[in-house]
């Protein structure tokens, strides 16, 4: 996912801080698709994602006057979203179980997805929906912190430095979490490939 242009954010933030609600609306419109993807891939649930995203922007609206611009608005709003989602996941605990209803059917019709699964030998024989379900399951087996790193790096396409700013950890920690998460995903999907029906 391409990074949104952040050079316009400063003016919008300044206007929002002076009470211009329309400026904040512009920020909501600009960042809601990207934050939706971030939260959804951490929660794997559309309804939770919707509620979380509303709460994230509500919190940002209340706190926008205190935003001093030490980081970019992009980093700031992502930090709010990640922290709130991690807190939500801790409260939700392990009672959540991935359901087939949560598997998104739109991806199966995606051109890039079909191309990848038809040319890539490990997944050629796999059923597309099953592969996606397994991938989501593998994601949910990761810890919340590891899933956040995987989501931001692989799905959102953020660089390590940006992720470290958002999470408030060093780049080394980000790389370490990413390495560990990749290993876990790899093991889980290899297991699926060896035993597709399992």
């Amino acid at each position: 996912m391409d990074q949104p242009r952040t050079d316009d954010d400063q003016a919008l933030v300044a206007r929002a801080q002076s009470g211009d609600a329309a400026a904040f609306d512009d920020l909501v419109v600009k960042y809601s698709p990207r934050l939706y993807g971030l939260i959804y891939n951490m929660t794997s649930n559309h309804e939770d994602t919707n509620d979380m995203l509303q709460d994230v922007f509500a919190k940002a609206y209340r706190a926008i006057k205190g935003f001093r611009g030490k980081s970019s608005f992009y980093t700031w709003i992502h930090t709010i979203a990640v922290n709130m989602t991690l807190n939500f996941l801790k409260k939700r605990g392990r009672r959540y179980h991935l359901s087939l209803d949560d598997v998104d059917v739109s991806i199966q019709n995606d051109k890039e997805f079909i191309e990848l699964t038809s040319t890539s030998s490990p997944v050629r024989e796999a059923d597309l929906a099953e592969l996606q379900r397994r991938l989501n399951e593998a994601m949910m087996k990761l810890s919340d912190e590891h899933r956040a790193v995987v989501t931001m790096f692989h799905i959102q396409g953020m660089p390590h430095a940006e992720i470290s700013k958002i999470l408030g950890v060093s780049e080394g920690t980000v790389r370490s979490r990413l390495f560990y998460a990749n290993r876990q995903l790899q093991n889980y999907l290899d297991e699926f490939r060896k035993n597709p029906v399992g």
Binding site: V28, V29, Q54, K65, D104, L116, V150, I155, Q186, L189
Partner: protein, 172 residues
Amino acid sequence: MDNFDENEIGKLLRLKKFEQPPPGYFENFLHEFHRRQRDELLRQPVWSVLWQRLSDSLFRLNIPSLTSYPAAVAAVLVCAAVISVKVYQAPSSAGDAMVDTSTLPSNESVIDQMPSQRVADYFTLSSSLPTRRLGPDLSRQMNESAYTHRATTPPRYVLDRLPVSYEPSFNF
């Protein structure tokens, strides 16, 4: 047998960006956001709304930026303090003329306390001008007794028998 390597996992995960909410979701998201904001505002107590508006108005004044000019702010505060002290002291000096009327003797009691001979001396035509003889103490007390009368008793109105214009200039 091929295994999933890191690149392939990365490719599969990148495809998850296509997992999007139903069509029209983001169009309605902003309306939903506004609706929730209104609901939240209605749930807030009045004092909270007032406090928020007050803080907003203070924020517009940009009070935190004043800390960048400590000398100027200190000078303004000192001037304000001096002016307020002056304003506070001005009515108190004027108020010195106002005495506690409850402690003052009435006009009749002052005369009663005087010896009878002395009273007669004061109010005979042969004596010198009473204003010279009264002295500062008595005149002050009489003035104050008049003030006391106005302050402590309701005003009395005397209706004259004739209009003022019909009275002769000198009536002996």
